[in-house]
Amino acid sequence: MTLLKERIGDVQLRVMDNTNWRKPVYETNGLNLWYGASHALKNINLSINEKEVTAIIGPSGCGKSTYLKTLNRMVEMVPDVNISGNITFKGNNILGKEMPVEMLRSKVGMVFQKPNPFPKSIYENIAFGPKIHGIKNKATLDMIVEDSLKKAALWDEVKDRLHKSAYGLSGGQQQRLCIARCLAIDPEVILMDEPTSALDPVSTHKVEELISSIKNDVTIAIVTHNMQQASRISDRTAFFLNGEIIEVNSTATIFNNPNDRLTNDYINGRFG
């Protein structure tokens, strides 16, 4: 009986503090990043947990995109970047030379601010990822394309024009296509950098619904300037300021009673 009570207490504790009991996919420890001489990320410590949506908020230029691009090592394409510290993806150090970036990125998709479909057909856009990872079988590709488009809730809108140009789609559809393109490589994490900032409210809503519907299967880290969006869709929120993390907490805490005065000022629009 006492044992049972203890267990219930334990479960309740976990449910109440749902911020950090899930398994971390990404763990960042003491990360610093410099663009040339400018110190863009300062001693970042953050974990991104499995099958959660982690929102990254903060004023312009505080390093949100930089952090996101560090997670899939795209930031290293900028000349003159220096990184110190430690990031692990599922326990493996990603900043060292052990894991080829291509390997990492086949598990971690990225969605950009501006929809960036390839100048190819809708079908070829989705099939791109599977093809570069070696899938040649037409039937398999067909299945992946259909499946990914369905997950992205785009199938009904495009099933009659799969072989037409992706550029014929609206901006919102293009962005959902880009998410579908990510889903096609069956990623464990999707990094999204302001995915709705170029979209109208209706398309934004659709993308948010899409995020909610896939979050049971993939871990999502999303950068957003839209406070409502962060509070609507995310489980945890990290507040960045001037290259530092000011506060990481459950989204409810961040938006209802943040620990830090700066967080409070920011979410209430007093700066930024």
Binding site: P79, R105, F118, P119, G129, I132, A166
Partner: protein
């Protein structure tokens, strides 16, 4: 406080509109000057040469007798020359452009190479002829065969092909390659599957236009030493050869000896112009076809 007074605007208005129309007229005039000269040129050439243009002329062998001379040898020579120039410039030109634009680290060495390539594009063609003579004809001892001429011509247009291809590669939006890298594509996969398909129309257009330069060029071949009266048809890139513009050059040179040679030159110019027209149209068609697809 009023900064822009309506009165002042009205006063100046007619002068501004006049200047506006005048500028349009000046640019129109500039364009018409070019078109007019071209028109005169084409009229002169066609009226002089069209009577000499017939099947015998196109398929015949060279001859000192004007009414028996044909230009099949020169046509074949131009063809074989292209068989050397096209693969060499495509491979070296696009390859160099890909390396410089997509692989080379931006730095001193890269900008040094870049500057030199741009400068090479401006070097007079006769200098390339001297280079070709020294390197291909004499040092490598090819003699004045198609291969030597083709390599020389390749060197001549290579800088242009490189620069144009670089331009085309650079104009591929960065967000496309980012999307590809973001999915885990390697650099080569990204180049092959994303960057090249987008850049290809630009590259091909530039390459074809450079080829038409190589087809019309004479100076380097004069230096290499092309025989004025070559009777056998070239059958491979290892044969001696002549090309259409060389034939025009020699016939024009000799028209003081025999007036009909000028007519033969005119007829040959028509053939050359038609060939260039076909090439340039192909360039335009390729560009439009690829651009419309997506």
């Amino acid at each position: 406080m009023e900064y822009i007074s309506t009165n002042r605007v009205a006063r100046k208005m007619s002068a501004r509109l006049l200047l506006n129309n005048l500028s349009k007229f000046i640019f129109l005039l500039a364009t018409f000057f070019g078109i007019f000269v071209l028109g005169v040129l084409i009229y002169r050439v066609v009226s002089q040469g069209i009577g000499w243009l017939n099947v015998d002329f196109l398929t015949g062998r060279l001859s000192t007798q004007a009414d028996r001379a044909g230009i099949m040898g020169a046509i074949l020579g131009t063809f074989w020359l292209m068989m050397v120039v096209v693969p060499v410039t495509m491979f070296l030109g696009i390859g160099t452009a890909i390396y410089l634009e997509l692989y080379a680290k931006k730095g001193r060495l890269q900008s040094f190479i870049q500057t030199n390539i741009s400068n090479l594009a401006g070097v007079p063609s006769i200098v390339y002829g001297i280079l070709g003579l020294t390197v291909f004809v004499r040092t490598l001892d090819f003699g004045n065969i198609v291969l030597a001429g083709g390599l020389t011509m390749s060197l001549l247009i290579l800088p242009i092909v490189i620069v144009v291809s670089q331009e085309a590669l650079r104009s591929v939006p960065q967000h496309l390659s980012e999307a590809s890298y973001g999915m885990g594509a390697t650099k080569w996969q990204t180049i092959q599957k994303v960057i090249l398909p987008v850049a290809l129309p630009g590259i091909l257009t530039g390459a074809i236009l450079s080829l038409s330069r190589a087809i019309g060029e004479t100076a380097p071949l004069v230096v290499i030493g092309i025989p004025a009266l070559l009777l056998p048809f070239p059958g491979s890139i290892l044969d001696k050869f002549t090309v259409l513009p060389m034939q025009i050059y020699y016939w024009t040179l000799d028209s003081s000896l025999m007036a009909e040679y000028a007519n033969l030159a005119a007829a040959t110019i028509i053939v050359l112009l038609v060939a260039l027209l076909i090439l340039n149209s192909t360039a335009i068609i390729i560009r439009n076809k690829f651009q419309k697809r997506y």
